[in-house]
Amino acid sequence: MRKIRQIARKEFRHILRDPRSLIIAILMPVMMTFLYGYAINLDIKNIKLAIKDFDNTSVSRELAGKFYNSGYFIRAEAEPDISDPEDIFRKGEAVAVLVIRNGFGKIMDALKYNPQMALDSDSPFQVGLFLDGADANTAAAAASYSSIIVTEFMKRALPPDFEFPGVRIASQVLYNPDLKSSHFFVPGLIAIILMMISALLTSITIAREKETGTMEQLLTSPVTPRQIIIGKVIPYVFVALLDGVLVLAFGVFHFGVPFSGSVAALFLFGVIYIVAALSIGILISTLVSTQQLAMMGALLATVLPSVMLSGFIFDLKNMPVALQALSHIVPARYFIAIIRGIMLKGADIGTLWLDAGALLCISLILLGLAAKRFKMRIG
């Protein structure tokens, strides 16, 4: 025990005295949170819309106002040329063009007295919408926002007792009612950051001892691999937990991400997940002998799979079967499911047991491999 404590203490000193590892440990998570919280935003807003209003009545101008005041569209500077609507897309001056035909105002007034006109598909009531499909997500969002705005506008012109026939979908979004991407990103981000920091720092610390020759000295003294590994891992569990709390606090207090589940459960799974990440770091360090290689190896082995194959951004269900299969060995996949479940849905072990079990298995396997692969001899 005393040896482990001394190794851990020495490791803490290394962390505190090495500006590089401090930067990796503290600054990188904060920077990544900012980056994902602000720069990478999946919310589609501020769509550049140009409106060609042939009607030019108070009613048509009111509709235009509805678009620009909705919060989803902003006014494009350029005037669209209706004979060639693509031109404005090519120049990148707008991504949507709304065309209001002449007579729109009159038709809207007439609707009050003849509501059946609203159901006539040939009616001159129609407004035209051109969309730049190069960014498919934005185009789809613009189409659905437009249809909502126009329908609402039309309904207000109709007598209050008039009913649209047919099926209407009344949807309600649960768990993330504002559909904010930060709610979706922040829990995943905690998973990515824990994985990256833990693997990076442990692989570097062991590679550094090899590079500077201190490992050789340490191995001639009576320490066991278990003592070295446990002693080295303890400080990084604390660093990783600190990072986790940092990002979590940032997400909850700054970005307003809800936390509906149990803190204790998240802490428990967090520790299991950190063990998996630290073991990956140790495994990498057994394969390389310089800090540079360790850093590259750790980033490649953790960031890429954790971002691409975990459901962090890209939905696993839409991936080719081979990639889906591969995702089963990525610890972040399970932890992201767990942390989203706990934070956004208030899930407990009853619903998370499958992911939790898988995570526990992977962590134990990785830890066992790391302890086995870590050699007490050089060469």
Partner: protein, 247 residues
């Protein structure tokens, strides 16, 4: 008296390359043994096998009576090792380094404190004991490395080119310390490139391409091969072997 080191036909191969080729030697307790050879002759590989850092490919070996294959843990408690490269922690102070290694050897705190004070007095470390070791001059760092290797009073000290890159005054002083240690009964197993240092040794061996080509007391070897000094003996022997191998 039992032998501190006894090896027989010890061999280590790295794929096709035989770094150490069936060497045999015994070093009695308390002896200063000089382990000489050109660069790449296999000295460091041999020392690493004796310290438990490398597993031999074949052959037998005992260190302090413990088997180098099976009793690694026992060996590690009774040896000290100082490598040719400074291998303490540069971002820790001299004191922190010593404290760390003392704890690794399970020395109790008050004993360790005493021992650090004793060694820093003996080796003149007080001046920089509270400084980080990274920026210190090489000679000081070597003294500190020696102190770290001596903390737990090892029965054998393995020194792999301990005086590489330090000035002659310090080398002289360093060897005075080694003599004192040997007088106290510590066995010293030293590699060196300096022939004046080799003359301080009770016995030497010269290694060439993984094999020990001669072994004996320095003065006796010089006489036997009829050379003016150890330097000439060393150079001529190596040259002779190299020519032989090329023809």
């Amino acid at each position: 008296m039992p032998n501190a080191v006894a090896i027989e036909n010890l061999t280590r191969k790295f794929r096709d390359f035989t770094a150490v080729d069936s060497i045999s030697l015994t070093v009695p307790q308390g002896e200063i043994f000089g382990f000489l050879g050109a660069n790449g002759a296999g000295k460091t590989t041999a020392i690493r096998m004796l310290c438990g850092l490398l597993l031999p490919t074949s052959g037998k070996g005992d260190v302090n009576g413990f088997d180098i294959y099976k009793q690694n843990d026992e060996i590690k408690k009774t040896i000290g090792y100082m490598s040719q490269k400074f291998s303490l922690y540069g971002d820790l102070t001299a004191y922190e380094n010593l404290w760390f290694y003392g704890s690794v050897y399970r020395m109790n705190k008050s004993l360790l404190k005493e021992r650090i004070a004793e060694l820093s007095d003996y080796l003149g470390l007080e001046r920089f004991i509270r400084e980080r070791t990274g920026p210190l001059p090489l000679g000081w760092r070597q003294r500190l490395a020696l102190a770290a290797a001596l903390l737990h009073r090892p029965k054998i000290l393995f020194l792999d080119e301990p005086t590489g890159g330090v000035d002659p005054v310090f080398r002289r002083k360093f060897w005075e310390l080694l003599y004192q240690l040997a007088d106290d009964g510590t066995t010293l197993f030293v590699t060196t490139h300096y022939m004046d240092e080799a003359e301080y040794c009770r016995r030497i061996s010269i290694m060439h391409r993984g094999k020990i080509i001669v072994m004996g007391p320095p003065a006796q070897l010089v006489k036997e091969y009829n050379k003016p000094d150890l330097q000439e003996l060393f150079i001529d022997l190596i040259k002779e072997r190299d020519n032989h191998a090329e023809n």
